[in-house]
Structure formats: structure tokens, C-alpha cells
């Protein structure tokens, strides 16, 4: 169904329910939908499973969501940060679960979830702790591969550079990262766009995320920078 444009981030995230699995775009702060995450903190819903490459910085954005005890479980590849101890403390006290996934496997699992692929084989992690308990198989190239499962989520929170009224998206440089694949793998994809333009203003050859993957758009014209908030000593809320 076609995209709807909402007035506020709070309106956009208010449909998110307790216990949801939430994909959150970004790699570190690049491409992180900080305003949507803060709206999710205002919304207050708990018991979330969050998928992100990392586990947040400082006490803003994803780290603030974790600090606010809304996250039951993180699925990520690198939950350490030089700028945050929020996840670390909760993890050490057994207050948050962690599913550690190699970064490329995480990306492919999300892509598979969006593409209707329930499972696939990959050589990544074979022979390591992260393959323990997983099905593996030797293929005709005589290499061993482990079976990994697609990730499908209830919601995706996405930050993009430009959206058009049809939900087509473009991203800025390496802020693209996990955002386009996460758009595909959620039942509801919520996007904060720095700019919203009319249909047809994005070159059809240069659309990164076609509108079919987007459900809600919010215009956030001057998104905050996580590192600037941290430097300013801000914690959310």
C-alpha cells in the first residue's frame, strides 16, 4: 500500500507495539534515525528486540533507548563503542540479551528476510564459536557452510537523505549502509527524510529504495548529529 506522510516522528512510531522486533538503520551514527528513536523513547513501548550493527553511542539515540530499558535483546555485530557504556553495563548485569552476528551475515540475513528467502548457506563463521549449534553442510566446492536464517521484523526505523511522495528514497554516502535492506525486511517501514520532494524529482535510475518498501514518511529537515549531542553533554530524554 502506498506511503503516508506524517507530521511528527511521534505519530510515525505510535503504532509500534510492545515486544516488537525493530530494525534500526545506521552504522554508528551515520544513517542512524535519531529523531525516530527519540520518538520511540517518548512512546515508551518496551520488550523490544532491536537489530542494528552496533549498540549505540553516548546516551542518545539507540544507547538512550537501551538505557531507558525498552530493549530486551540486541541483534548486532559490534556492540562495543568507545563512547558508550550503556549496553556494556546492562549486558554485564544480565539485563539485556545479545545475539552476536557477523556483520556480513547480519546484512545478508536482513536482505534474505526482505527477499522471501527463509534461509541460506554462508562460509562466514564456519569453524568458530558463532557456528556452534548451527546446521552446516559441505558443498561441491569442498568448503563447509553454515545455515543462516532470514530476519523479518515488525518495524524498521530508517533515515534517508531525500524521499519523494511515492516513498522512493536516496541516501547520503556511507549513511546508506543497512538502511535500504532494512526497508525491505519489516512489515512497517518508517522513514525520516531530510527532504521530501514531489514524485518524479528523483531520477528513476538513481532510486536506491523503491517506494514499495516504505510505509510512513516524516520530514526531519535538519537531523541532529549523535556526536554533536554527545559533545554537548546531552542525554535523552
Amino acid at each position: 500500500m502506498s506511503v503516508s506522510v506524517l507530521n511528527t516522528c511521534f505519530d510515525a512510531v505510535s503504532s509500534i507495539r510492545e515486544g516488537s522486533t525493530v530494525l534500526i538503520g545506521g552504522f554508528g551514527e551515520a544513517g542512524s534515525p535519531v529523531e525516530l528513536i527519540h520518538a520511540l523513547i517518548d512512546h515508551g513501548v518496551r520488550d523490544l528486540t532491536v537489530v542494528n550493527n552496533n549498540a549505540g553511542n553516548g546516551e542518545v539515540g539507540l544507547a538512550a533507548l537501551i538505557k531507558n530499558r525498552q530493549v530486551r535483546k540486541m541483534i548486532c555485530s559490534f556492540p562495543k563503542s568507545s563512547r558508550s557504556t550503556v549496553f556494556e553495563q546492562l549486558y554485564r548485569s544480565g539485563s539485556i540479551e545479545l545475539e552476536l552476528v557477523p556483520q556480513g551475515t547480519l546484512a545478508e540475513r536482513i536482505r534474505a528476510g526482505g527477499a522471501g528467502i527463509p534461509a541460506f548457506f554462508t562460509a562466514t563463521s564456519i569453524g568458530t564459536q558463532l557456528a556452534i549449534g548451527k546446521e552446516s553442510r559441505r558443498f561441491k566446492d569442498s568448503r563447509d557452510y553454515v545455515l543462516e536464517f532470514g530476519i523479518q521484523a515488525d518495524v524498521a526505523l530508517i533515515k534517508c537523505a531525500t524521499a519523494d511522495e511515492k516513498g522512493n528514497l536516496t541516501f547520503n554516502k556511507t549513511a546508506r549502509n543497512f538502511n535500504p535492506i532494512m526497508c525491505t525486511a519489516a512489515l512497517e517501514t518508517i522513514v525520516q527524510a531530510s527532504e521530501i520532494v514531489k514524485a518524479g524529482e528523483i531520477d528513476p535510475e538513481c532510486v536506491i529504495t523503491p517506494g514499495v518498501f516504505v510505509n510512513k514518511l516524516v520530514h526531519v529537515p535538519s537531523p541532529v548529529s549523535e556526536s554533536q549531542l554527545i559533545e554537548d553533554g546531552i542525554s535523552y530524554p
Binding site: M1, S2, R111, G113, G114, A115, G116, I117, D164, E165, K166, N168, T184, K198, A199, G200, I202, P204, E205, V207, P210, G211, V212, F213
Partner: protein
């Protein structure tokens, strides 16, 4: 009416297309099969907009180009020249079928050789030994698209059943069809089997039963003869 007149009864092809279009919600992402299903785009109700997907890498497909404006690099899955609408996007084949397989396309409308009462669809091969097998994207569409509509004449040109208990032709997908639009009626595929949804003007339930190779149930809609 007996079965020999069935193929000339009820809705015209255009009217069938109109029935289909009327059942598709505003803003839907729609994939129209080659042939008769393409006519659906001519009957989009006022105030609604469908966004057309074509498997070969385009969302936001428009109509046929004017003479002289044909671009051989801008075609649909039937390899016919098309245009784009504002807000269109191009993508490669794997991304295109990720949309299909991943359940992102709302409705596809396909033709059929046979539809069985359990929703099995046969529309790609007669299974004859010397036939050149060619499946295209049909199996992907029926496996992946949320709602699968079939649009067909109720019986074959030589007056054999197309709506049947079991398909005799090779399947395109198993239990995949949601609704069948024919010249005689609109028939839902349900857990109970074929269920009459509505009748074409001047066509009776009994006539539909006679022209159908499986039982046609009437459920809550019993007695309804929506010759609207």
C-alpha cells in the same frame, strides 16, 4: 444456457477486467500478467491509483508509448514497449524478484489454463511431450505476491472446464489462487473450495455450476445475485 453458450455469456473481457480493477484497493502495488490481465489498467476506478510492477525491473510502469516515442530499452515483462509514471524506479532482476518473493507486491492478476478448487493454478504448460517448456516469472509471482487473482474465460474454447477439482496440466503453484474472475462470475477460492462471490448479469448460479468442473459453494452470500 448450456455449456456450449457459456463462453459467449456474461461479462465481456473488458467487463471482467473492470470487475478485477474494482476489487483492488487504492495505492496497491499490482503486477498484471501478459495478455488479458493487462486490460485491468484500463478500468481503474475514479479516485484510485495502482502502482504497476513489471518483473523485468520497473515499478511505476505507465501505458503504451505514442508512436515514435518507443524506447527499446523500456519494456514490460511481455517485452512490449511501455512508459513510466512520475515516481517510477528501475532496479535489477534480483531486486525485482525480491519484491515479488518477499511479499511486497499486493496483487497479481494472471491468466489460467486451469484452476482447482484448492487454489492450484496451471498456466504455463500443457505438459505435452513436444511442448517447449517456458515458465517465465509465473511461479515466482504466485508464490510471492500477497493476493493472486486469476482472470479467464469460464470454459475453454472447445468447451472444457477450466475450473476443476484437480488440475490435469502441470502446476504453476499449489494452493495459490485467491479469486477467479470469469465471464460468468467472480469465484473465491476458500478452505471449502470454490465459493461464489458474484454473478455476471443474466447468469444464474445454476449455470455457473454447470460450467464448473467442481462444486461451487454459496456461503454467506447465498441468494445474492449481484447483477449490479
Amino acid at each position: 444456457m448450456n455449456i456450449s453458450t457459456v463462453s459467449r455469456s456474461g461479462w465481456t473481457r473488458e467487463q471482467i477486467a473492470e470487475q478485477v480493477a474494482g476489487d483492488i484497493a487504492d495505492g496497491s502495488y499490482v503486477n498484471l500478467g501478459i495478455g488479458m490481465p493487462e486490460m485491468v489498467s484500463k478500468f481503474v476506478p475514479n479516485g484510485r491509483e495502482f502502482i504497476y510492477h513489471t518483473e523485468n525491473g520497473l515499478l511505476g510502469m505507465g501505458g503504451t508509448p505514442k508512436a515514435g516515442a518507443v524506447d527499446l530499452d523500456l519494456i514490460n515483462a511481455g517485452k512490449k514497449p511501455v512508459t513510466i509514471v512520475p515516481g517510477a524506479s528501475f532496479f535489477h532482476h534480483a531486486d525485482s524478484f525480491a519484491m515479488v518473493r518477499g511479499g511486497h507486491i499486493d496483487v497479481c492478476v494472471l491468466g489460467a489454463m486451469q484452476v482447482a478448487e484448492n487454489g492450484d493454478l496451471a498456466n504455463w504448460s500443457t505438459g505435452e511431450p513436444d511442448a517447449i517448456p517456458a515458465v517465465g516469472g509465473a511461479m515466482d509471482l504466485v508464490a510471492g505476491v500477497k493476493t493472486v487473482y486469476v482472470m479467464t474465460q469460464h470454459v475453454t474454447k472447445d468447451e472444457r472446464f477450466k475450473l476443476v477439482e484437480y488440475c490435469s496440466y502441470p502446476l504453476t503453484g499449489s494452493g495459490v489462487v485467491d479469486r477467479v474472475y470469469t465471464n460468468l462470475a467472480v469465484i473465491d477460492v476458500t478452505d471449502r473450495g470454490f465459493m461464489l462471490n458474484r454473478l455476471a448479469p443474466g447468469v444464474t448460479y445454476e449455470e455457473v455450476c454447470e460450467a464448473t468442473g467442481a462444486k461451487v459453494h454459496i456461503g454467506k452470500t447465498e441468494g445474492i445475485n449481484t447483477n449490479a
